[in-house]
């Protein structure tokens, strides 16, 4: 039973998809997960629905797999695993923990190796001296940007770039003036499709220097086995949309 979409992807990538008995309503990847029984959201899980599916193992967020829910699982003899996936660094420990819980250690190790190799290739492709300075925009009005403590901030760091947004806040709101003053080399447009569509033709940050690239794959918002592939589409745009960067599907054959 997976109560985190990231864990659902890992379970399927480990070849354990057929053993998954229930997921959250956000678990839409891979395609096969969409047909599985839903037991709630990431935080609003129904303990009754979970127990009704008689799982042996429940993988969930620490905010959920605790307190009375953890107590219920313990009393029902269900093993529980609390994991977070807040950045690319947490994927490998997550893969290993799930692999260990399912006695799929070798598969988990292979998946981790592949995951690491893809990231290394992406980092090599983006290596610059000094590093590229990126501004990630997640909302236009107001201008909400990704700070160092956010998932997208972690992605920027993981790709070897420098985030121009400093400070402890994950999603600070900036004035356009601050965005201009930061002088990014790259503006990453991560605004939701709906908001972007409501402002056709409008610049992400009017007058801001630097190239604008659009996050092409929503998978980039979900650290998991598919994370590097989603990031690769972004890197491809940064490199000018030409050849596939190293680590692409063709390159791995």
């Amino acid at each position: 039973m997976s109560l985190i979409p990231n864990a659902t992807e890992i379970l399927f990538a480990l070849g354990a998809g057929e053993r998954v008995v229930g997921v959250t309503r956000y678990c839409d990847r891979p395609q096969e997960a969409r047909g599985l029984p839903r037991v709630g959201g990431i935080l609003d899980v129904s303990p009754e629905a979970v127990l009704d599916l008689r799982p042996d193992l429940v993988v969930g967020s620490p905010a959920v797999v605790r307190g009375r829910f953890a107590d219920l699982l313990d009393r029902a003899g269900v093993r529980r695993l609390a994991l977070t996936f807040e950045g690319p660094d947490e994927v490998e420990p997550g893969i290993r923990a799930i692999g260990r819980a399912l006695a799929l250690d070798a598969e988990a190790e292979a998946l981790c190796r592949d995951y690491r190799r893809q990231w290394d290739a992406l980092r090599d492709a983006l290596r610059r001296e000094p590093p590229l300075r990126a501004l990630v925009v997640v909302g236009r009005a107001p201008l909400v940007v990704a700070g160092e403590g956010s998932l997208l901030g972690a992605l920027v760091r993981h790709l070897g770039m420098e985030n121009v947004v400093k400070g402890p806040l994950a999603w600070p709101t900036w004035s356009p003036e601050e965005a201009l003053r930061a002088r990014p080399d790259l503006v990453v447009d991560a605004v939701a499709e709906e908001e972007a569509a409501s402002r056709p033709g409008e610049e992400v940050v009017p007058g801001a220097p630097g190239r604008v690239v659009r996050i092409p794959d929503p998978g980039i918002l979900r650290p998991g086995p598919g994370f590097p592939a989603a990031a690769r589409a972004l890197v491809q745009q940064v490199l000018g949309g030409g050849d596939d960067p190293p680590g692409s599907r063709e390159d791995r054959r």
């Binding site: 127990l51 009704d52 307190g67 009375r68």
Partner: protein, 337 residues
């Protein structure tokens, strides 16, 4: 001309109690997942037993307690403030409790302690807000100025709401979502153990009995301060005691369930409309009806799980049902000859 037809209070109380019993049984029998009551009864090791005893029964009992507390506090606040729009949250307790709970959720160390820390934070926040409101609303002779009490309560709620909004912008997305769910009012909290339920019950029962003792004085207060004094009731003392006991009820309820709206507004109105304003009857009737209403509403959100694949916070349902119902009641009351 006759007024709206009223029910005999004992009959209404009996029906409310019976409905509460029926809704409790309903909430134990039908939920988010199928459950066989016979298996739950006969097999102590079954999952059905676990769901019934550890999930459905404690949750419905908690709902009954919170519903009773909110309705009773709404009733007495409306009486002493002589304002039919006064609800349990208007005096600032909502904002204080919300901010107290949200602060605990935002601080990683405190949040790691789980629900008890959030409940304690909300309880402390609620009491602090009431104490602050009390201090700011007292007149020169120590009398409580009801008008000030209401307005300061509104201001406290607004300031606390802004502080909570700020907290939501600085915490992680998942934490903000956790705060949102809690603030919307839910019975899916960690208050499940018999000892925790007993503690909540003891606190609510104490405050409830205190208010019941004040029922004759509350009746006298409806005649105004002067009228109450003529009947030998000290209006200042009574008001103070009612606020203290009522605030305890609200703070305790909010601390275990977040902010469940409209229960404390609509139930007292409906009860008064049906049986009149004698607090010796409206207090127990509100307790029973409020309990029944919230147990039914919580059953509703659980029963709707297969449709929406989520258990919406019960506060969403009480607001969706309570808002239109309140307007309808108001309309009917004005139309009554």
């Amino acid at each position: 001309m006759t007024g709206p037809r009223r029910w005999a209070p004992p009959v209404f109380l009996g029906i409310s109690a019976a409905l509460l019993g029926a809704f409790l049984v309903l909430s134990w029998s039908i939920g988010a997942a199928p459950l066989d009551l016979r298996t739950a009864w006969s097999d102590p090791e079954s999952i059905d037993r676990l769901i019934l005893v550890r999930e459905r029964i404690p949750r419905s009992l908690l709902g009954a307690m919170v519903g009773a507390a909110l309705s009773v506090s709404g009733l007495v606040f409306q009486a002493v403030l002589a304002n039919p729009l006064a609800d349990p949250y208007v005096i600032g307790v909502a904002g204080g409790a919300a901010l107290g709970g949200a602060l605990v959720l935002a601080v990683p160390l405190a949040a790691a302690l789980g629900q008890p820390a959030v409940s304690l934070g909300a309880f402390a926040g609620g009491l602090l807000a009431i104490a602050l409101n009390w201090t700011l609303s007292r007149g020169r002779r120590g009398t409580l100025r009801a008008y000030h009490f209401l307005l300061v309560g509104v201001v406290l709620n607004a300031v606390a709401s802004a502080a909570v909004m700020f907290l939501k912008t600085v915490v992680r997305a998942e934490k903000a979502q956790e705060m949102l769910l809690w603030l919307m009012g839910t019975l899916a909290t960690d208050v499940r153990s018999p000892s925790a339920l007993l503690m909540v019950f003891a606190l609510l029962a104490l405050a409830g009995l205190w208010l019941y003792r004040l029922a004759p004085a509350l009746n006298a207060l409806t005649l105004g301060a002067e009228g109450a004094s003529v009947l030998g009731v000290d209006p200042v003392r009574t008001t103070r005691q009612v606020f203290l006991a009522g605030s305890l009820l609200v703070a305790a309820a909010v601390s275990v369930s977040g902010l469940i709206g409209f229960v404390g507004l609509i139930v007292p109105h409906a009860v008064r409309r049906v049986i009149g304003s004698d607090h010796r009857w409206t207090l127990p009737a509100c307790a029973c009806s409020g309990a029944a209403f919230l147990v039914l509403a919580d059953w509703g959100v659980r029963a709707l799980f297969p449709v929406f694949h989520t258990e919406s916070p019960v506060g969403v349902l009480t607001a969706l049902v309570g808002g239109p119902a309140f307007v309808w009641l108001l309309h009917r009351t004005e139309e009554a000859p």
